[in-house]
């Protein structure tokens, strides 16, 4: 850590003087409400921050238990960047304590995806094989029950390359993220088909991880390299046309591109990232805007089902409300229940970590019981890791909200 104050320090630390200790963030924090190990966003953030000096050791260790969900910053009526302050503090702590091997591995979805995809049956067997998971917990600290996704065995980008895109239509750039690339390629196909149904010509640039897992585990230097590589890959596709936008279905990854990388990783001044941030849309955000303009096709067939909708923390961090709910409401006969729980607990890789798994499950308990009470067979949710956690916690299948749109379009 340099002793020179950076602009980001000023931005984040400057906001802490706006804290009036009102405790609203404490009422919203999913983690501190279930475990005494994290004393809460106000205490770990604006209060402890006053004791953190840039070139002195960290005074406060509990911030490692913050899951980085960001709900505190969203709720703060005074605009204090609580989660961002805590992310900085967590980074400092990690640098000081040393970064565990586990955190270097599970924060690299690209490495995992490339290694696992060609040998998917074996990799999936390994991840589901109890003795090996126990061993993984003992040696690496990845909890034996943590919801590990299954490799699809094929990559979305391969499908995209072979897919015959329409010759005409308004150009749109698709950022699919790692979850779609390695684990749920069918989600990406649905995004493309919905966009094409609405008259877009979808471009899928060669792309890689957004760096969010690295950032949330405090590995800032690596996260910067990764997100800037992605920004360099995406920016040329939108630079020349002010009307071209980037759309993504991985809501936490689009949030990383829009806001978190710049605010947390001190990348405010990178022109490629600034351009990408400005042009990036969450898929449901985009579809709702199209609907508002009368440009979304609404030839939806009835879907006679009950679905529970959970807005993940990182989706709410877009500060756009819950557009998925408005979209699902357009589908005839679909009965949608809005879940009113804080968080599913997983927070990316947080709930996979052995020392945090039980906390993550306790955080998710409220959501899981709401899902069970809703009587819905399926849970719609915008983030892949949250979907895996919800399925792990409830036994219900969980899909991206666009799955229902795709079905209702009859695509």
């Amino acid at each position: 850590m340099s002793s020179v104050t950076t602009p980001i320090d000023e931005l984040l630390r400057g906001s802490l003087d706006h804290c009036v200790k009102c405790t609203i963030c404490e009422t919203q924090c999913p983690v501190s409400n279930v475990t005494p190990l994290f004393p809460g966003p106000k205490y770990a953030g604006p209060q402890a921050e006053r004791y953190r000096v840039s070139d002195e050791p960290s005074v406060e260790w509990s911030v490692d238990y913050c899951s980085g969900c960001g709900i505190c910053s969203m709720s703060c009526p005074q605009g204090v960047k609580i989660a961002e302050i805590n992310a900085q503090a967590r980074h400092k702590l990690k640098v000081q304590k040393g970064i565990p091997l586990r955190d270097r591995i599970i924060t690299r979805p690209t490495w995992l995806g490339r290694a696992g995809t060609p040998v998917a049956p074996l990799a999936n067997f390994t991840l589901g094989f109890r003795p090996l998971r126990v061993l993984g917990e003992k040696t690496l600290g990845v909890h034996r029950n943590g919801p590990a996704p299954k490799f699809a065995g094929r990559r979305f980008s391969r499908w995209a390359r072979s897919h015959a895109a329409p010759a005409t239509g308004r150009k749109i750039v698709y950022f699919h993220g790692c979850g779609t690339e390695y684990y749920e390629p069918w989600e990406g196909q649905k995004v493309v088909e919905i966009l094409e149904h609405n008259g877009f010509r979808v471009e899928v640039p060669k792309q890689d991880c957004c760096g969010l897992p690295l950032q949330s585990s405090g590995l800032f230097d690596d996260a910067r390299k990764v997100v800037l590589r992605l920004a360099r890959a995406l920016a040329p596709h939108v630079r020349d046309d002010p009307d071209t936008i980037i759309v993504g279905n991985a809501t936490s990854c689009t949030l990383m591109l829009k806001r978190e990388a710049r605010e947390i990783l001190d990348l405010e001044n990178d022109p490629d990232l600034a351009l990408v941030a400005e042009r990036t849309y969450d898929i449901c955000e985009l579809l709702l805007e199209l609907h508002d303009r009368g440009e979304l096709k609404t030839d939806f067939k009835p879907v006679n089902e009950r679905v529970a909708y959970h807005a993940p923390c990182q989706q709410q961090g877009h500060y756009i409300g819950k557009p998925a709910l408005e979209l699902l409401a357009l589908i005839p006969e679909l009965e949608v229940s809005e879940m009113n729980a804080r968080c599913c607990g997983i927070a990316g890789t947080y709930g996979l970590k052995a020392e945090k798994y039980d906390i993550a499950m306790a955080v998710g308990a409220d959501l899981f019981s709401q899902v069970r009470d809703s009587g819905a067979d399926t849970v719609a949710c915008d983030s892949e890791t949250c979907r895996w956690q919800i399925t792990h916690g409830t036994g219900r299948s969980s899909v991206h909200p666009i799955d229902f749109l795709h079905r209702a379009y009859g695509l």
Partner: protein, 421 residues
């Protein structure tokens, strides 16, 4: 750009009431707010008029004269009927709300006198049923029960002040293991949601109580099912139990938020939290759209009507800057009630009537902002009131939120002159 029939700015009581009632009236509504609002900090009671300036026994009786004497006060714009009507609306929404069995008690005819966390008696017209048993008009003795685990609540201090007010009261402490240095009321409220935990707590408390005591506990009797927790505790203890508001976070305030949020959502209204208004697009004498900060790009919300419910000095929506200039920070609207140049803005005694306190957004007789004819102003943004000394904040919020919705709905279809539809 997203288009609505009305956009409400602010998600405190006034904003949520305006949003819910607009949506119930058939308008497409979006409530945008920088953060979670004042509900989580206030006691959850609906204080209509507590002091004018002497303590008010009956708001219904006092309001007409108060409105005549205080032509600059929000209540003078709203009228007594709007206040009564909005209270009735709230009661119904509480009953239809997400908390099974939970009710509000009280009428405009009589203020209840309820103990605060330090045992001062606060006049309030409409209160959660879980608090009504604290009314000083009720006979009998009071046992105030605290716990060292709950920060900022001291049972013996509360009881001592109640004794000074003529109520026979004593303080009791019950140990609650919270696995940390201390806990806030919300953390304890979650424990009270658990029937087994509650039964054990009641058993430990019962042996300390005397025959004719009713029990005052900090407002923490259940977050998810407060009616269930409170009535179960009354049954187990065989006596009246009541909640005493705590320092923030306020559990009854959070329940009120949930009730209003649910009313808004059930009527189809949207709620966007974390969305600070950062830009305003004007069209002549009207506001055409506002932009909120989101992620990479701002989001624009256009509507023929806007409701400003962002609060006053306390929320930061009205500020006095370092050049001693006062601003309404959200839409840049003109203010009213400013002390004349050269006159004092503040007086030295902190709790005295402060000249700046009545500053608010300048409005006409129908809550419309001066200089922005399609903006309705509600709640703490209105000029002329000093809610903390009048004990009038929630009454103003509720009645003005309701009235603004009514006025907008009455004009619906018609677009104000000058506004680009």
């Amino acid at each position: 750009m997203l288009h609505y029939d009305a956009v409400v700015i602010g998600a405190g009581t006034a904003g949520l009431v305006a949003g819910a009632r607009l949506a119930e009236g058939g308008a497409r509504v979006c409530v945008v707010a920088k953060g979670v609002g004042s509900t989580h900090l206030a006691p959850g009671t609906i204080d209509v008029l507590g002091y004018a300036p002497d303590r008010v026994a009956s708001p219904a009786a006092a309001l007409p004269e108060f409105m005549t004497a205080r032509a600059d006060h929000p209540y003078a714009l709203l009228g007594p009927d709007a206040v009564a009507e909005s209270l009735g609306w709230l009661k119904a929404r509480v009953e239809a709300g997400p908390l099974p069995g939970y009710r509000y008690a009280g009428e405009l005819d009589r203020n209840l006198l309820l103990p605060s966390a330090i045992g001062a008696l606060r006049p309030s017209a409409l209160v959660p049923e879980t608090m009504a048993g604290g009314d000083a008009a009720l006979p009998g003795r009071v046992a105030v029960v605290g716990s060292r685990s709950l920060r900022d609540f001291h049972a013996s201090l509360c009881a001592g002040n109640l004794r000074r007010a003529g109520i026979e009261a004593r303080g009791l402490e019950i140990d609650i293991d919270v696995e940390r240095a201390d806990e806030n009321a919300l953390g304890l409220a979650r424990r009270f949601d658990d029937a087994g935990w509650r039964a054990a707590f009641a058993a430990r408390l019962a042996i300390k109580l005397q025959a004719d005591e009713r029990v005052g506990l900090p407002a923490m009797l259940g977050a998810r099912d407060p009616h269930g927790a409170w009535s179960d505790l009354e049954q187990r203890l065989g006596r009246r139990v009541f909640e005493i508001p705590t320092l923030p976070p306020s559990v009854p305030g959070m329940r009120l938020f949930e009730i209003l949020r649910s009313a808004l959502r059930r009527a189809g209204g949207r709620l966007v939290i974390g969305a600070e208004v950062v830009d305003v697009e004007r069209s002549g004498q009207a506001i055409a759209a506002v932009s909120t900060r989101a992620g990479g790009h701002d989001v624009r919300y256009a509507a023929p009507w806007f409701v400003l419910a962002a609060g006053g000095f306390a929320s930061g929506a009205i500020e006095l800057d370092s050049h001693w200039v006062t601003h309404e920070r959200v839409l840049g609207l003109p203010l009213r009630g400013l002390p004349a140049p050269g006159e004092p803005r503040f007086v030295a005694e902190y709790l005295a009537e402060q000249p700046m306190a009545r500053v608010g957004v300048a409005v006409d007789g129908e809550l419309r902002a001066e200089g922005a004819e399609n903006v309705m102003v509600v709640g703490a943004a209105l000029p002329g009131a000093v809610p903390w000394s009048e004990a009038s904040g929630e009454g103003i919020a509720l009645a003005s939120g309701s009235r603004a919705a009514e006025l907008v709905l009455a004009r619906a279809g018609g677009t104000p002159a000058g506004a680009a539809a």
